[in-house]
């Protein structure tokens, strides 16, 4: 089964993944429909962590703390793709899941999938339909620079560190020299601002 892996050194914080995800999950499916629409659901968020950027989304853990915590039967696993899915029709926005998700991957708001005119929990669905048709998640498809990779989940990674982000990180190799310089200078800039000099 495949998962989304992150090569954060290659993340340029362009947020193309955020846009692609928003469109993928918007009923209109186009940018102009999603723009300014407060119900637009974005399941991936590019964090800025010092000089690094990091696209954050659900890791579809195995076992998944959220799934075990949901008292409403709203979270389930697709046996075929392994995706951890959240059914907004059953979700009661109780936050039992968000309370234990180690990755802060679950958010709440009124989305287009809300059924009862109130907020629901929402998170990455691994673009389950696309994936089951042989495609890749929208964010991975949108990432130009190779920061998001959809690859076979090697079980060894899982046992090494079942619930750690490290399981999902890839190490960038062969970063071109001009990018290396760029990264180095930015690192200095941030280090000084944060007082790390």
């Amino acid at each position: 089964m495949k998962r989304i892996f992150v090569d954060y050194k290659k993340c340029l914080a362009c947020k193309a993944c955020e846009t692609a995800c928003a469109l993928e999950h918007h009923p209109g499916g186009n940018l102009f429909g999603a723009l300014g629409d407060l119900k637009t659901q974005i399941n991936v968020r590019v964090l800025g962590i010092e000089q690094e950027a990091f696209p954050l989304s659900c890791r579809h853990c195995e076992p998944a703390d959220c799934l075990n915590a949901c008292p409403s039967g709203a979270i389930s696993r697709d046996p075929e793709s392994g995706a951890v899915l959240l059914d907004p029709a059953l979700c009661k926005a109780c936050a039992m899941c968000a309370m234990v998700c180690p990755f802060d991957a679950i958010s709440f708001k009124v989305t287009h999938r809300s059924c009862y005119n109130r907020d629901v929990a929402y998170k990455c669905d691994l673009c389950n339909d696309r994936v089951k048709e042989g495609g890749v998640p929208a964010c991975v498809g949108a990432c130009h620079s190779g920061a998001l990779v959809f690859a076979e989940y090697d079980a060894a990674r899982g046992t090494r560190a079942a619930k750690s982000l490290r399981t999902y990180l890839l190490g960038a190799e062969g970063v071109p020299p001009h990018v290396e310089l760029f990264r180095e200078l930015r690192k200095k800039e941030f280090a000084r601002r944060r007082g790390g000099e």
Binding site: I49, D65, P71, L90, C94, M96, M99, P102, Y116
Partner: protein, 407 residues
């Protein structure tokens, strides 16, 4: 092998589902005093708030049929005869078992049980309660309610009824609501914010001492300070007690060992079970769904495979239903405190021997998963916790994972 469950609640349903998924093909009988398919008490307030009844059946309305279960409903078990391995019900039936799964949960506790005779006074615990409250509100055009008891269930009730459009007065004996899942300062902050955000009239250091009825129907309640408030609806939610009498003869709960066995042939789980805390090892009733679920799974695995052990319960809880202002807590509120507060967000961790002993996170859930896992990990965090709580972008987990010390 014949398996009987006392109760068709969350623990029993998880237990039965697990058994069947594991491959158990023996006879299963599920007994309940209520008449429903297994439902989630956590969800039932939403029925009152106007959402469809079907969503309370968290494992499906067709549960009994799907899992090949004989259901004996609307007939409470009144006695468990462990010698003869049979249970007896109020209607005089009996059911033998090879293994009993005893998960009867808990019931509302009433200071004055006779109040319930008055129409308009309800508990807030079961689906039966919700159906009755709903009908009463509809039939009487109820616009306002008094909720007596500001614990988790009381606040849950108040928020659900408010969502339905009722004007709510919440009466609580303590100096703050949610007194069990908060400490003094955090609880007072949460109480203040709840009042601000919801407009619920919260009366602290107050109890309901008497009711006024009129032709068998509630017309007003009298508070401990002597005030009388007119209301057609009173919800009493000041506490619960385990339904352990049929097995143990008292309401002190049922002790389960590491395999969740209470007797050689009786498993127990859920709100009726007394278990050890995963961190403190203290014995107690840890009445939340995740504990009930893990206990039920432990029992199912042990019954079917003969192995496995329960790791212990965790007293995490979160209140967020019907409000965008989560209140998360776990552990015990003793030790050295580290607090961070900005605007709507208030966070406190209690440290003991450098490890997290308890925490209270109010206003958002963004770092709650990280703190939860740090709490369980028993790692020393005294050097970093301040920075973790204060990280303005709430991304301390990612910081630490990318090897950047939180600042």
């Amino acid at each position: 092998m014949k398996v009987v469950t006392a109760g068709t609640g969350m623990a029993a349903a998880e237990f039965v589902q697990r058994l069947r998924l594991e491959g158990f093909d023996g006879e299963i009988v599920m007994c309940s005093d209520e008449e429903f398919a297994p439902y989630s008490p956590c969800v039932i307030p939403f029925y009152l708030a106007g959402e469809p009844m079907d969503t309370v059946y968290w494992k499906g309305k067709d549960f009994y049929g799907r899992y090949g279960v004989s259901a004996r409903l609307a007939d409470p078990i009144i006695e468990v005869d462990a010698e003869r391995r049979l249970v007896r019900t109020a209607a005089g039936r009996s059911e033998t078992y090879d293994r009993l799964f005893y998960a009867t949960g808990a019931r509302s506790w009433y200071p004055r049980p006779e109040w319930l005779k008055t129409r308009g006074v309800f508990g807030f615990k079961t689906l039966t309660d919700m159906v009755a409250i709903d009908r009463y509100i509809r039939e009487h055009g109820v616009r306002k309610a008094v909720v007596f008891g500001g614990g988790f269930i009381g606040v849950d009730a108040a928020l659900a009824l408010r969502h339905r459009g009722l004007e709510i007065t919440l009466v609580h004996r303590n100096t703050r609501v949610l007194s069990q899942m908060t400490d003094g300062e955090g609880g007072e902050f949460a109480t203040r914010k709840l009042a601000e955000k919801t407009g619920i009239d919260i009366r602290l250091r107050t109890t309901v001492d008497g009711i006024v009825e009129n032709g068998g129907e509630l017309s007003a309640v009298r508070f401990s300070n002597g005030d009388v408030m007119e209301t057609p609806l009173l919800i009493v939610s000041i506490g619960v007690s385990p339904n352990s009498e049929p097995l143990r003869g008292d309401d002190k709960g049922v002790h389960g060992n590491e395999q969740m066995l209470a007797d050689p042939c009786i498993y127990t789980a859920g709100d009726v079970a007394v278990t050890r805390h995963a961190v403190t090892r203290a014995k107690g009733v840890y009445a939340t769904y995740p504990n009930a679920m893990m206990q039920a799974r432990t029992a199912a695995r042990h019954l079917f495979r003969g192995d496995g052990a329960y790791a212990g319960s965790i007293n995490t809880n979160v209140l967020k239903k019907h409000i965008d202002f989560p209140i998360v807590s776990a552990g015990s509120f003793t030790g050295e405190t580290v607090t961070w507060h900005r605007g709507d967000i208030w966070r406190r961790v209690y440290l003991l021997d450098g490890m997290i002993n308890g925490y209270l996170i109010i206003g958002d859930t963004r770092i709650s998963g990280y703190i939860y896992h740090l709490y369980l990990s028993r790692k020393r965090v005294d050097k970093t916790i301040r920075a973790i709580l204060a990280e303005p972008r709430h991304d301390s987990y990612y910081r630490s994972m990318l090897g950047m010390v939180p600042v």
